[in-house]
């Protein structure tokens, strides 16, 4: 993958290899400006990527299936708990903000602007 300015067939095979072996970021980083242009203008490349993904899914996706779904479930649950805590905290902050402004209004005090203050002094 260190060759500069690869042909479109080389780019596709390298993409397929990167997808199979799980190093897509390195493949993306290895692209030169010319290769980037070649990819964007090549219809064949985009035609072939769909099949490459399918080959990857059919040939290798089984190894991604973990035996212990329970362990994964606990990760999901922790994620949900942290999100709900965040949501609760932000709603409390909003609520307390509204509450303090209401309190101020109940006391009957009126916020005075800088210009009003100076007017009074005059």
């Amino acid at each position: 993958m260190s060759d500069t300015n690869r042909e479109i067939q080389e780019l596709l095979v390298d993409y397929a290899g990167a997808l199979r072996d799980g190093y897509i970021p390195s493949f993306l980083k290895s692209l030169t400006r010319e290769e980037g242009k070649l990819i964007s203008s090549s219809g064949q490349f985009w035609d072939a990527t769909e099949i490459v993904r399918i080959l990857n899914g059919v040939g290798f996706a089984d190894k991604a299936v973990t035996a212990d779904v329970g362990l994964f479930m606990s990760r999901v649950d922790a994620n949900i708990v942290s999100r709900s805590k965040k949501a609760r905290a932000s709603s409390q902050r909003k609520h307390s903000g509204r509450f303090t402004s209401q309190k101020r209004n109940n006391r009957g005090t009126k916020s005075t602007t800088k210009t009003e203050k100076t007017e009074k002094q005059i």
Binding site: Q9, G22, Y23, I54, A61, K63, V65, F72, R75, V76
Partner: protein
């Protein structure tokens, strides 16, 4: 659709947050395998797949409105890809995009593309169609694809076929394009 999954979906689309959280367990158990297989097509990396899927499930818990009126497993997979997975997939490499010689549009198409014709077929349907198409290839092309699918490097495939790495790459490129054409023909015929 599986009754357990149907019930989980009903719970997931409820307004009550706690009920949604309780429904998540059966939902994950019923869908984990198909979702992770699907994600693997785009990433090829188990750890990254799990990380994304964790966020996808949490997103579903947070905004489950797209999962109303789901009637089949295929529709569920399509909806989850369109509204939850694709967004996460596109986020994965956005952070490195600044250093890439690839436009944002191309990057998006490469890592979280629009759904093609074959991408909505089930795993078993795909396997069957793909094997049928591979059998139609020339023996050398067939061998190159099979060896690649066994996990061999281009160099090893070249040694096996007694040719150069460049020739193997060309052979695979042609074989993949032929596969696309053949699979389209099979799909239309069916």
């Amino acid at each position: 659709m599986d009754r357990r999954l149907q019930n989980a979906l009903k719970g997931l689309t409820s307004c009550d947050i706690e009920q949604r959280r309780r429904a998540m367990d059966p939902f994950v158990r019923a869908t984990f395998e198909s979702f992770i297989r699907y994600l693997y097509r785009y990433l090829g990396n188990e750890t990254e797949c799990e990380d994304i899927l964790e966020d996808v499930y949490a997103d579903i818990w947070e905004n489950p409105e797209y999962l109303n009126n789901i009637v089949s497993q295929r529709q569920l997979l399509k909806t989850v890809y369109m509204y939850y997975m694709r967004r996460r997939l596109r986020q994965v490499y956005r952070r490195i995009n600044r250093h890439l010689n690839l436009s944002q549009n191309n990057l998006t198409n490469l890592v979280g593309p629009e759904l093609g014709v074959f991408e909505m077929m089930s795993q078993s349907e795909l396997k069957m169609t793909l094997h049928k198409a591979i059998r139609k290839l020339k023996s050398r092309e067939q061998r190159a694809i099979e060896l690649w699918m066994e996990g061999m490097s281009n160099r090893t495939v070249a040694n096996e076929l007694k040719t150069t790495v460049g020739a193997v790459k060309m052979l695979k490129f042609r074989a993949i394009l032929k596969l696309k054409k053949l699979m389209q023909e099979f799909y239309q015929a069916e």
